[in-house]
Symmetry: C2
């Protein structure tokens, strides 16, 4: 059936409508006392101010890129590029807006009706983000496909989404860890005041960071992988013999949205229920529903059943990587406990132990990606993992809402009981976060491999014959080594950016405690906005040259060394990028939970030497897991797409190489 | 000239003779007072005891391997395998014996005649190691080539050397860092007694560690890369059209030895001279002499001058990597200073900053290796870097002699002036060490690439046609990801082994201070041998399963997934192995010098909070730079050669794949 792909726009519109409905549901809830509204207002204003500044920077960047793309390639690409950035940006705004509404309403509901009333608000807030992201993304892809029937034009939209994502993910990551580290180092360590204490000038920036980094950033991240995977699968699918096969990714993605809606609908928690279990149940139900729906569609539409197997292989690889991340980071498992135990011998051993387990945790992920790419057509595998993005993003966006609601409950002094409930909601977010993060990295890894394959496909269409990327070709090998350095340098620079920026904010916090009378005693008012401004400005100014450098580096290599070297370069970037992403995410999560394990009373508990060592581990892990690690996926996606876009020019004008 | 290759055995015999002569020169010097002899005796006995235990383990391992190789492949391979282990083992023994003689004699000469008398003893002690290693290695290769004229049989000897090296390098690395970390954590941190204080029960183990890790281990490391590079170049050279081309690597290597002897001869230092400059002068002279000699030989013997260019490209790549390591680790450069400065904000920022600079330092190395492999035939490039191994090893082995002499001077209370002189000798060792380490890693990287090419060549000879290792082949791509995990897991396990073993030794040191009466007051005698035994036993028992696992993993993958997957696997191991080796060596060296920078009086100096943070960085860096990092080269060399050796069996019996 030639019209089967229409399931994609249909599902995407349903997704957007349900998203808007849930938005209204959350918005209609009571936002609580004046004090709560005041605090939530600070967070909202901080988040909006960050997004506004970021979008201003981005506006300039997008215009410059659009002009370059239109001039160098075609106006169509330039226009779809802008379209992609607009959709991705819109998804970010909606996700952020719902998050800053849901946080305070969750806290208020916890006060009024306990867990059963609070949990749905937090989760549905997250679901708004999930549904809007996949809805807008698939709607955009469908629209362009309908207008042009050319998957390569979708590439323009995809790269628009990716460049925006890189800013939101990496910029948000720098922001959130700047605030987190600075708030902790001065507040907890130097002054011994609790986390989320309103006297700390960085506390609002810290809560804003949760929104801009975890919520808007993660949503944009999966938006980007999602679009890129569908696009790559369409480009590759178009070359297979069966007619209309390039529509398969659209059909599967549409069914994935329906499965996600089903999964979101069944997530509920009873009076003494476990929010973590409820979230996981939603994910499992979605996965199962997706498998059943796509099998049915494959049979009914007469697709090769091998495609369905690949789809399932991708899903399985994603699950393996997610579960591995869970094992290596969970507070209840041996790696975190052993890392906590090793803290008794000092911080150096904490670092070494956590780093080692982080390295070991890469093995199942490598195996999963390796076998996944071997048994699948790669392309469909990636779509398989990403089709259930709706529920994954919902779980991801739930995290910062829960985290914020706890912060608001504490700052508004809603009492021990309420804080405990929000704490439970927050803790469930941490559990699912490890799994969804692993899933996102795995999906991005397979997407990058699919992008590599689509790069080869595009080169083939231009040259007229398959160009082999032989590992023993000196140009390819050289490309691999140069490509490996891109994620490596990017990680380094972005971690240094966090250090530098945190240093600036620490100076500011110290200044405020020194100069504002009565701040420590609780009678003075901290200047929250100064910290917010430092985090915002630093994040964006540190980031811009890095992104420009990555894109320019790719283009320069292509023009100098040609398409074979570039294929090696993309592969090298995938290798080191995937490795560092997994290592940093898992080691970071592990140190975090090792610290929590010590705090729960083991090895001397809070305030002991072991705790101090564990805190150092956690601080090292912060930019690993929340800044550098999660940005790498997007970085690799961006440069892969740049390579594909510019391939015709490299072939025509490269200095050396074929 | 068909007999040109005879320059190799001739040069190797000259090298061995000069080595023996220098051995006698050092041995004839006075070993000083009874107290000095007693301390040197403890170190000597500890070193011998480690080597004895290690060789006992190794004996069993070698016999098992020889039986397997003889049965699975051929008796010839089995015999040359044993021959390789014997030569490498002999080089280790000689290097160790001269180190434990030169250390005390250097200290004594410093007391008697100052720097001008002490320096030549330390340097010539190192030169013994350098000359014996290259002499024995090239003699062995020449002998086998003379007997068989078949470079593939040399592979047997090469892998014999490599497996032994892996034990010596990694085992010595675990040993030295176990002792170092344990001695520091209890001695310096808990009890506030100085380094090298004879009351510390781990102090002898610490000094032994310098010998077994740095001296015997590093010598074996370059022995192994040296043989492997010559062997790989011979296998590849044999396929080129020009007759006798497989002898080129032998000719170049022979000339390299002569150049090294020249360089060693001119190293001297005046009364107020700078030992560091003298050492570097020797290296530069050797490099220049080597370039001139090989150019002459290339012209006279009528070789293609392109080979000479490749040779020089390899030398240039090695120099770039060495100088990069120097820049990123030197105490006088911005990375170490900035890391020291960041220590003021706490240990977490020290770790993050040093780690980031370590990542950045990979870029020039990647670029060097990438461009080096692209412009050279790879094979000859590797020989180019390694031909001057003689002087490189001499500089490397000089390090622990200087370090030990300082320890002996302190423990024997030879006075401030003498300690200062030995300190100067020691410091020069640290400067050259960064360069030689970078050089060794670069050489190993190019060697591994040459081994990959020789693997393809061997496969081609069996199959009869060139098998392309296409990156887009799912088996190759799967192989890359699985191969990447080998160095990753190996690093993790070996770091965990150091942590575990250090923990055991810490318990023992604490026990001795608790139970031995008068130990802290200086009237009791510590049981040094107990610490030596813990370090020895732990190092070997932790290591054996790791090595067996790496070898077995390679063989299993070959039999299951076939030669294409294995090519990907080897490439993946090179990618992650080279990356981690550079990262760990440079980050480790950087943290070390950042600590020294703080100790020299900046940011509060010794005892300040910044110093405590910098010490944590240094401790994290210890197993990075001295255990995991340096073992990875050898690991990759071992599995590459295993793959080549077993290639015929994989082709015949693999389950899947071609």
């Amino acid at each position: 059936m030639a019209e089967a792909w229409l399931i994609a726009p249909a599902a995407s519109i349903i997704s957007i409508l349900i998203g808007l409905f849930l938005f209204k549901y959350v918005n209609d809830k009571d936002a609580g006392t004046d004090r709560m509204k005041q605090i939530a207002g600070w967070i909202r204003e901080g988040s909006r101010s960050f997004l506004k500044t970021e979008y201003t920077y981005l506006g300039v960047f997008v215009v410059v890129m659009a002009v370059i793309l239109s001039a160098a390639l075609s106006l169509k690409i330039g226009v779809t590029y802008v379209f992609g950035t607009l959709l991705s940006g819109l998804a970010g705004i909606i996700g952020m807006e719902i998050a800053v509404k849901a946080n305070v309403r969750t806290a208020n509901a916890a006060k009024k009706g306990g867990l059963t009333e609070a949990f749905p608000i937090a989760f549905r807030g997250g679901a708004v983000m999930g549904l809007m992201v996949v809805g807008l993304a698939l709607f955009g892809v469908s629209l362009i496909y309908w207008l042009t029937k050319d998957p390569e034009i979708v590439l323009g939209m995809s790269i628009g989404a990716s460049t925006l994502t890189l800013f939101m993910k990496a910029g948000g990551g720098i922001y959130t860890k700047t605030a987190d580290i600075a708030a902790d180092l001065v507040g907890k360590v130097e002054l011994s005041i609790p986390e989320d204490d309103p006297r700390n000038p960085a506390v609002i920036a810290d809560n804003v960071g949760d929104n801009v980094g975890d919520c808007a950033g993660s949503g944009a991240d999966l938006f980007d992988s999602y679009v890129a995977a569908i696009m790559a699968a369409m480009i590759l699918g178009g070359t297979l013999p069966i007619q209309y096969l390039e529509a398969v990714p659209l059909v599967y993605a549409g069914l994935g949205i329906l499965a996600s809606i089903l999964g979101i609908a069944i997530v509920r928690v009873g009076k003494d229920g476990d929010p973590g279990k409820a979230l996981n149940m939603g994910t499992y139900a979605t996965t199962l529903a997706f498998a059943v729906l796509t099998y049915g569609a494959t049979i009914i539409l007469g697709y090769d059943v091998k495609i369905w197997y690949c789809n399932i292989a991708g899903l399985a690889a994603g699950t393996v990587i997610g579960l591995t991340s869970d094992y290596y980071t969970s507070i209840n498992r041996s790696p975190a406990k052993k890392t906590a135990e090793s803290s008794q011998t000092g911080a150096a051993i904490t670092i070494l132990t956590g780093f080692s387990y982080g390295l070991i945790s890469c093995f199942p992920a490598f195996l999963g990606i390796g076998i996944g790419s071997a048994i699948a057509f790669t392309l469909y595998a990636a779509v398989g993992m990403l089709s259930i993005a709706g529920i994954i993003i919902a779980g991801d966006a739930y995290g910062p809402i829960g985290d914020n609601s706890k912060g608001i409950a504490e700052m508004s002094e809603l009492g021990e009981d309420v804080v405990d409930i929000t704490d439970e909601i927050d803790a469930a977010g941490n559990t699912t976060k490890a799994i969804t993060k692993g899933f996102a990295i795995g999906a991005a890894g397979l997407t990058a491999l699919a992008l590599l394959a689509s790069y080869q496909e595009i080169v083939k269409r231009i040259v007229g014959t398959t160009v082999v990327f032989d590992l023993m070709d000196p140009m390819v090998m050289m490309g691999v080594f140069i490509g490996m350095s891109v994620p490596v340098i990017f990680s380094a620079m972005i971690i240094l950016a966090v250090s530098k920026n945190a240093y600036r904010m620490i100076e500011e916090i110290r200044r405020q405690f020194r100069e504002i009378p009565g701040l420590m005693e609780g009678t003075g008012t901290p200047e929250y906005n100064k910290c917010v401004n430092i985090a915002t400005k630093g994040a964006l100014t540190e980031l811009l040259p890095l992104i420009v450098f990555s894109i320019m580096g790719t283009i320069v290599l292509g023009f100098v060394a040609g398409i074979k070297a570039l294929a090696g370069y993309l592969s090298g970037a995938i290798f080191s990028g995937f490795f560092l992403a997994i290592l940093m995410a898992n080691a970071g999560g592990l140190w975090d939970n090792a610290k929590k394990y010590v705090e729960s009373g083991f090895f001397g508990g809070k305030g002991s030497d072991a705790h101090k060592a564990a805190v150092i581990g956690d601080t090292v892990g912060d930019p690993f897991k929340d800044t550098a690690g999660p940005s790498l996926n997007t970085l690799v996606t961006v440069i892969s797409q740049i390579a594909s876009l510019f391939a015709p020019l490299f072939i025509a004008y490269a200095l050396i190489g074929v």
